[in-house]
């Protein structure tokens, strides 16, 4: 009967695109904000 595709960790009812936070083919959850690279102002790279 195949898989329950609603249980693969993707919010299929999301009004927004999924790909910007897609965690990858093995991920059960989308990327969190701290996983997403962002081109912040260079001054923010304090470390």
């Amino acid at each position: 009967l195949g898989q329950d595709l609603t249980a693969l960790g993707l919010n299929l009812n999301s009004p927004d695109n999924l790909y910007p936070t897609f965690g990858g083919p093995w991920a059960d959850t989308p990327c969190r904000p701290q996983d997403i690279d962002f081109h912040v102002p260079p001054e923010y790279l304090v470390n």
Partner: protein
Amino acid sequence: RDFDDLGYVEKTDFLLREWVTLIHSPSGIREPTKAFGTFVQHLNMHGFLKTDDVITRFFRISTRLCVDMCCQALTEQSNSPTVVRTKCYQTLDAYVKLIALLVKHSGDTANSGTKINLLNKVLGIVAGVLLHDQDAHTLEFQQLPYQRMFIMLFLELNAPEPILETINFQVLTAFCHTLHILSPSKAPGFSYAWLEIVSHRVFLGRMLALTPQQKGWGMYSQLLMDLFKFLAPFLRNAELAKPVTLLYKGTLRLLLVLLHDFPEFLCDYHYGFCDVIPPNCIQMRNLILSAFPRNMRLPDPFTPNLKVDMLPEIAHAPRVLTNFSSMIQPPNFKKDLDSYLKARAPVTFLSELRGNVQISNEPGMAYNIPLMNALVLYVGTQAINYIRSKSHTPNMTTIAHSAHMDIFQNLAVDLDTEGRYLFLNAIANQLRYPNSHTHYFSCTLLYLFAEANSEAIQEQITRVLLERLIVNRPHPWGLLITFIELIKNPTYKFWLHEFVHCAPEIEKLFESVARSCM
């Protein structure tokens, strides 16, 4: 060759270590371009940028050294996986940074050719080292260093910088070309990493969303075809070993993202995908066939008295970006086909049809599936044009008594169970969102049911529809409206057939579908 091999490797190793230290230093982090300028002088001083040959050797040995360091670290059990991986990342990321800076700053700004040539060279070298490594290490092959190099180089070269934006499409082309060379069938040991890269959110964004005029779609569909071709023999046998199940579920996740974000992409390339997905891989195929353009509103298939042929979109032909007509081989078969379609003669063409699509007597492998799919779609599209040329629209009357329907009815009658299953699948693969193909092939399937000269054909048509309906969602709209019409319209006397009552659970299933329709 003014470098002795051993001395050369040592020199490369020394320079690489110097670079890793430099780029991870505070000044290197703050001003990588300045550190790069210093390092390029060292490379020049050692003659490492003197000729194309020497540059190639530098990259091949550097890649080898990075891979060896990484594999060495991975075998050391003393450290925690996080410590090991951080150590690998630092060296690999530094090497990638060097490549990215060399690509960005090679040749003058206007001349992107130098940059792209260097990128293609390096990608080709890394791919070559990977394939050689896989052959040499077989089951001990480690995908990590190569995955890291490819994805980090991709991220570096897709940073929002003007110099990179101008060469972005060539960068994407270079990566797609490399990933095609490293497709899972050629580098099975790299498959998981390969899918990770192809599914990466930045890769998806660049290939399918940000590149103008959908110029990345064709290349991306080629990569998906590579994946389906690799999976096909394993999926074909239904019971999946764990490694395949993981790759299959990963593929489903990727397809769900494509269905949700880029349905038009799946609409355009569905034909090629369904040509390589095994016929028994029902849910994955349904997922692809369920895609419909985002600007389209699908009427609820269970709407009472839904007039499908009154829908505005039903007359529009969908885009099919595969040249299926050229897949009808050999050429004289195509010539005979065209002349039969034109003249509805000679009748012998019909009796020879089966011989053209059958390739062996081996059960389960007796037919040329791509040829069957192409033949069905080609004849169907010709039929639609023919009916239109008479200023009619496809319906149960206008599709009948034509050369096109002769061919379909002949295939339905003349093929054995396996061949007819593939034939009916080729038709069912066209039951998608409201368009002229969905409409024509829905009518054709119902017509073949109504005109069947044996109950076996009617049962098999029902089976082909049913096996696509009982799997978990999603279900293509065209499949639903066809099945609902079959069980609802008394013309087909569906409920009178023996096979409908062949088992209590089957009967219950039909009734549950019927209840949701009525």
